[in-house]
Symmetry: none
Subunit: 136 residues, 4 copies
DNA sequence: GTGGTCTAGACCACA
DNA sequence: GTGGTCTAGACCACG
């Protein structure tokens, strides 16, 4: 069971936080392709959000091709099929990695420590994915 | 000489784009500690922004402890002295690294390719820093 | 209900006067943690200030960690959780106490009278805090 | 020998910092009534300030009645003669003490610790005054 | 010349 | 309704 956390103080739009967390859940394996997402109304209640806000997040995810909405049935996680070329994918990733590198420099975390931390997180994600594939 | 680019269509606040780029310039060695940043008015003209927008970016950078501003004299890049504990620094970095990892998974970039890309960016930053320390 | 007073002739920046007064209200118990601050627009009207000036004060307070602002909802007083070490807190306080001591000497107020005055103010704050915790 | 420190990053006007520090020196006994202040030009050089800035500080001090300028001879610390009533003096002091109390509350320093710190600073100032009256 | 403050008025995103 | 961003233009203090 995945649970989402909304940070009202982050300054980031609430619906975008939901989008990120659902993408995160999908990436980490907590949500598997084909699985249904939580229904809008119960989720809105649980997170103490307006239904419109949750709906907006789902709309955004559908336009990003992450989920699929079937009227009357619900929303489902799509098989992820990257629609970008290898080059485009690397461009997007490079931007995010650079962001982290800039922060690392600012925090005076040296390259070796940075790479170690990246390796640690990669391992952490791998283990979560492995678990969710086995059990449940 | 560093030059900044503003993307008016990105949806991201203009002043935050400036903040990111200046932090990037500092991390990559294009701006060195103690060096003066471009003056607010000329920079605003060059980027076709309002004076206040540039000033807001500089204010934000100062409150982040990245630059130091001396009224009547100008703004200068501070010696970066991280005031965070090792633990706090790792927490901040972990968040940014996870962000990139989620994106990687979304783009179906596997761990091996991801790590290779990270290594590549680390090397790239290192070389830029090395260059700016030698000559110019 | 707290009310703020702006002195346009003081020479001190208007937005900083607001910052000080809100911090004062928080310290004296007139504003309690979690409580909403006055909305920017109505407050600006009441004080006959521009919206941006009030917003600047609130932005400053947020970056100081005194308040929390949730776009679309409002600004709220944070639970105060001092992130400084005991040593750092004393250093900050010492600076302000010395300031008062210098003034006392300048005004030829002797130590005994000074200490009495400090005690009086401490008691005054304590009583205000006590009141606001009981009733209303 | 008193030495002054200018903090360019404080945001406070440089000449006002000088004013405060000279008042501080007078309060702590480092400067005694009737003593000459440093000449403008050497002091400006030592602090790496513009001569105008130092002159402005001295002008301000003279208008505050702290020093006395005798053309051709220099500037001298006046006998301090408080021109305020007891009530006025307490009003001024109360404002500064409250300032410190607000900060203390913000930093979650309790009354007992606050009073102890005040006592400590009072003692510290007293000892400095005593020393400068004896020796030199 | 520098940065800092303030006003006025506009548009946007979010709840 | 809320706060956030941006522009335009004015005045001030400091060096």
């Amino acid at each position: 069971m995945t649970t989402f956390r909304i940070d009202f103080k982050s300054g980031k739009a609430v619906y975008l936080q939901l989008v990120d967390q659902i993408r995160y859940a999908a990436a980490s394996g907590a949500l598997r392709p084909g699985e249904p997402l939580p229904s809008i109304r119960p989720l809105a209640e649980e997170l103490r959000l307006n239904r419109n806000t949750v709906a907006k997040a789902y709309t955004e995810l559908e336009s990003q091709g992450v989920i699929e909405t079937i009227p009357g049935k619900g929303c489902f996680l799509k098989e992820n099929q990257s629609q970008f070329t290898k080059q485009a994918r690397h461009a997007i990733l490079t931007k995010e990695i650079d962001q982290a590198l800039v922060t690392a420099h600012q925090l005076q975390v040296d390259n070796k420590a940075f790479l170690a931390l990246v390796q640690e997180r990669v391992d952490y994600f791998s283990s979560k994915n492995a678990n969710s594939k086995e059990g449940k």
